[in-house]
Symmetry: C2
Subunit: 340 residues, 2 copies
């Protein structure tokens, strides 16, 4: 293996605002050699997710930032090519965390074996993986959906949002999705069974949403912030729950909006309407992983949960795909196929 | 009774900003006559509470506003003077909702008989009443205090805050109170057993609080908002809980602060630190009333919960006392003694 070329994409510089192609650098080296107790992994699929924008910044958050010149982190589906670990054999397909590169070593501790016969292995990065579990745990634990309630979900055509909406339907909610563009909105209603969808690019989004939610909003699954939050906020009902899962509209912010500080307005609504705002990341609910796999696999098998993948070919195209995703250019779970 | 004079304080006008004496009007009339199934109540004690500021405004909130020329609402301890209701006798002492007046009728439905031998009847408006139950339910249900955690409580010398802090001590928290002035701060530490207190009037409040909370803040019981919130917010730990009970610093606001909009900052912290912000009012937790009475009565009897009353004599002095309370002039539960 010592002659095998490993390409990797490293963080070249920390973005100011929107990431630029120059913030990434493609490097070429040799694939590492596994030591005792290690496996060498070849990456088949790389997952691109909005949280990675946070890792590019030096700001303190729930995870450590990627260091300059270090390989970008990311969830992956890998094939074990060489194993010096008793639990793995060459040819095993695993869910891992190899990052934006062709090859990586692992001591096996964070790997989970996948059964290619049970489901397409790429779903371990989407509907049956982190995004699906984010939807499942955040909606059920924090959102606490009840039949007849109105659930609004932002970034609804994305991997988290589309699962949130469909689980909401299973739980008996009236589900309204917010997505970018008429194509995504049609998809939500026609293919995923949402009750309605609003295009956040419409100039009258707030009015449309008001018309479509005549009984207000009981659960708002927050993925974006910004103008979408502004449109939903006045519609929140007494005792509404807001799982805060992402704020993609703000990830590229370089400062605060030069408008009057609305913090008191938000806090007064929290009090007067007895709102619950609660942030989470999927690992906070790790104890629900088994229940999630059970429920979600069944729902997918039964066709009650559908999913869509947006596949980009080639590691070298990951930066551009990632930059586009932050602008909503993807349609479905964004995956990079590293090894065809 | 038809010759008995009834004085009442009505809402004369809706305040713009701080309430003024002219927003209230003292009227004199005759006490009403009870019909079948009614009792005539004489007010002994009137409770003054910050939430009443909200009732003076026309803005939609969790309770209907007081109408112009209507008597100000408020919790009261009353003596039954005439009863035409089978469940009550003249001389009974009851907890009621007679408002800012000497006499009122009731059909008995909202009355609760008090036992003057069990505890001073005024405590039914304080530590054993709405403020005490607000502290108990908000702290235990939303705050979920655990031994060793740091609990910060605002308006800590008030009836809610002082109970929050003392219950926090019972639950094993390190308790820091924020109050206005050195006298109140000394009281918190020396008499109520708080671990520390910070005077929010100090110019370096935020720095003092940071020094006093070296391990951050796990629970912030929010009663005030404004500068106190600004000081606590950056100290909140991952998974911190914020029961939002009151925002007295904002009740007189007439507009938004002319500073950059910090809503994104708040939402990003909710996400990155997985904060829980949840507003509540005590009636949301009505099902806990029995447990509260049991626990709190025992803690008061055992001397583990102490309380302080700030008594003003005479209905005519209620407006001034109320206006002062919104500025933090009271020290302890503010009560108006109507009938000596």
């Amino acid at each position: 293996m010592s002659e095998t070329v490993n390409r990797r994409i490293v963080l070249a510089s920390r973005p100011m605002g929107e990431p630029q192609p120059s913030d990434f650098r493609l490097e070429t080296g040799l694939a590492p050699e596994p030591g005792d107790g290690q496996v060498l992994l070849r990456t088949l699929w790389l997952s691109l997710d909005p949280y990675m924008r946070g890792r590019m910044s030096a700001a303190k958050s729930y995870a450590k930032p990627v260091l300059i010149d270090d390989v970008m982190t990311g969830g992956t589906v890998n094939e074990v090519v060489v194993s010096r670990h008793p639990a793995f054999q060459a040819g095993d397909i695993v869910l891992g965390y190899a990052g934006w590169q062709d090859y990586a070593l692992s001591d096996g501790s964070e790997l989970r074996k996948l059964d290619p016969a049970a489901a397409p292995v790429s779903t371990a990065l989407g509907v049956l993986g982190m995004p699906g579990m984010t939807a499942y745990t955040g909606l059920l634990t924090i959102g606490q959906p009840k039949p007849g309630e109105t659930l609004v979900v932002a970034a609804a055509a994305g991997p988290v949002g589309s699962a949130v909406g469909q689980i909401g339907k299973i739980k008996g909610c009236r589900v309204v999705g917010i997505a970018g563009g008429p194509g995504k909105c049609r998809y939500l209603v026609d293919e995923l069974g949402f009750d309605a969808a609003v295009d956040h690019r419409s100039p009258d989004m707030a009015q449309q949403l008001r018309d479509i939610c005549p009984n207000g909003v009981d659960i708002y699954f927050e993925n974006v912030g910004g103008a979408v939050w502004d449109a939903v906020f006045p519609l929140l009902n007494d005792f509404a729950r807001v799982p805060v899962c992402g704020l993609v509209a703000h990830y590229n912010d370089t400062g605060l909006p030069q408008e009057p500080d609305r913090t008191p307005l938000l806090m007064r609504a929290v009090l007067a309407k007895r709102l619950t705002l609660r942030g989470f990341i999927v690992s906070d609910f790790a104890s629900q992983a088994e229940m999630f796999q059970l429920d979600m696999s069944q729902w997918v098998r039964e066709g009650r949960i559908r999913y869509r993948e947006d596949v980009v070919d080639g590691l070298e195209n990951a930066p551009d795909a990632f930059i586009g995703m932050l602008k909503g250019r993807n349609f479905g779970k964004l995956l990079v196929r590293i090894t065809p």
